[in-house]
């Protein structure tokens, strides 16, 4: 069964991690192929010629690209432990917030990480606004309800990367006092058994993002 399913990922990418978590929750076996993005494998370039990115899930030789598309594919192919809500309206809401996460929240936080001076301040304001919108969406233990679901996997990167970013840029992005629900969610998600065994090593992450941060600083020195 494992030969039928391969996942091209990296050791640290949150997009790849979403798929790792989903496959674990569903109890699906697969082969993980760790890519070095500075030297992408010929298979990766063949499977994802347009974006040339990970993750790519290859099922019976057929590639599926884009993590949100992959999550829906997994949910539709392996029906046990459903990730998305069944109700069409709830499903539409989940897709909406996932899009918000990708198009608004993630870029705003990334802009804080890469930005400097005035640009960084503005980005921080926007990031906090976006986090507030997310805080309002939490009604239960997880975005998926009592159990982890699609949206939890989509936002899961917050639970491990925010704190790494804060250390690297020496700036408090996330005031736990201001976001009690998100704060509790982050802890619950971080510690969940199907999630925690897959966290990338924190010290390696700090080093990686320190290097990346320096690159941005030198490429765009403050004016």
């Amino acid at each position: 069964m494992a030969e039928e399913l391969k996942l091209h990922r990296t050791w640290s990418s949150p997009f790849g991690l979403r798929i790792v978590w989903a496959l674990h929750i569903k109890g699906i076996e697969y082969d993980a192929i760790f890519e070095d993005l500075s030297q992408k494998s010929p298979e990766l370039l063949q499977y994802n010629p347009i974006h040339k990115k990970i993750p790519v899930l290859v099922h019976k030789g057929k590639p599926i690209c884009e993590s949100l598309v992959i999550l829906e594919y997994i949910d539709e192919t392996w029906k046990e432990a459903p990730l998305l809500p069944q109700d069409p309206y709830e499903k539409a809401m989940a897709r909406f917030w996932a899009k918000f996460g990708e198009e608004k929240l993630l870029p705003s936080i990334w802009s804080v990480f890469t930005g400097q001076g005035e640009e960084k301040k503005e980005a921080l304001g926007l990031a906090v606004q976006n986090l507030e919108l997310l805080e309002e969406q939490l009604k239960e233990k997880f975005f998926g309800g009592e159990k982890i679901g699609y949206l939890d996997l989509v936002f899961g990167w917050l639970a491990y990367l925010l704190d790494v970013f804060e250390e690297v840029i020496d700036l408090k992005l996330f005031d736990a006092g201001k976001f009690p629900l998100l704060s509790a969610w982050m802890k619950n998600f971080y510690d969940a058994p199907e999630i925690k065994e897959h966290w990338p090593p924190r010290d390696k992450l700090v080093t990686k993002f320190q290097v990346l941060h320096e690159k941005y600083q030198t490429a765009n020195p403050p004016k």
Binding site: P88, Y89, F96
Partner: protein, 237 residues
């Protein structure tokens, strides 16, 4: 300033009281609004069509879409569904008795979603460069659109539509941008795809002849006028 269609197509009027349950907040020239219209027309769904003045957004729009504050918004039984690709999937899942818009098989569905995501990002971004960019950026936009068109031509192959024999999700997502390409012919001298992507052009003509598309698509003149209006507003800040 509101741009409304020149004539009210029959299926868009509210004939029965089911129509009160479905409202579309829309802006006629919007390619995203067009997508929602086409999907509703394909399914034969009656709805109330409300057009927004984007320079003066209605209370209803702000209430129904506070996060993105944009059209289209489908309001079904009082509850809003936002983002055109999410709206199309919602419509397909609720009105699931006939004319499926997405394939039933998971891998084909994944391919369709991937292509729609590609259109949303790459085709849209490059089109905006053609609309708004100065000379060099516009040329870059055109080059990119040619590259994307070739990719899409490859994906289409010899099929009638992206999903096979049946008009669906990817076709709906792309056709409003194909409409933009037609405007780009005169506006930006973008006339390369006739020779480079003949299958895509045939697909485009096939779609434009479809009832749901022809009654939902703004004319190329309406698209161009909306662009001028937008540029004027943008220039004045």
């Amino acid at each position: 300033m509101t741009l409304a269609p020149q004539k009210e197509p029959e299926s868009l009027s509210f004939k029965n009281n089911m129509a009160e349950e479905v409202v579309l907040l829309d802006y006629w020239p919007s390619p995203f609004g067009t997508r929602a219209r086409i999907a509703l027309a394909e399914k034969g769904i009656s709805f109330i069509h409300k057009f927004e003045d984007l320079s003066n957004k209605s209370h209803l729009l702000m209430k129904m879409n506070p996060v993105q504050q944009r059209v289209p918004v489908l309001v079904h039984k009082g509850k809003p569904v936002c983002e055109s690709d999410i709206i199309i999937q919602y419509i397909d899942e609720v009105w699931n008795h006939s004319f499926p818009l997405l394939p039933s098989e998971p891998y084909q569905r994944a391919k369709a979603r991937f292509l729609v995501d590609f259109i949303n990002k790459k085709v849209h971004e490059s089109s905006v460069k053609v609309w708004m960019g100065a000379k060099e950026e516009q040329e870059n936009g055109k080059k990119e659109l040619l590259e994307w068109s070739k990719f899409l031509e490859g994906e289409l192959g010899d099929k009638l539509y992206f999903g096979g024999d049946v008009f669906g999700f990817v076709d709906i997502a792309l056709v409003p941008f194909y409409n933009w390409f037609i405007v780009f012919k005169t506006f930006a001298n973008f006339n390369i795809i006739e020779t480079e992507c003949p299958k895509l052009v045939m697909w485009g003509d096939r779609c434009l002849n479809r009832d749901s598309v022809s009654k939902s698509l703004p004319t190329t003149d309406q698209v161009y006028q909306a662009y001028l209006e937008f540029k004027r507003g943008w220039a004045h800040g």
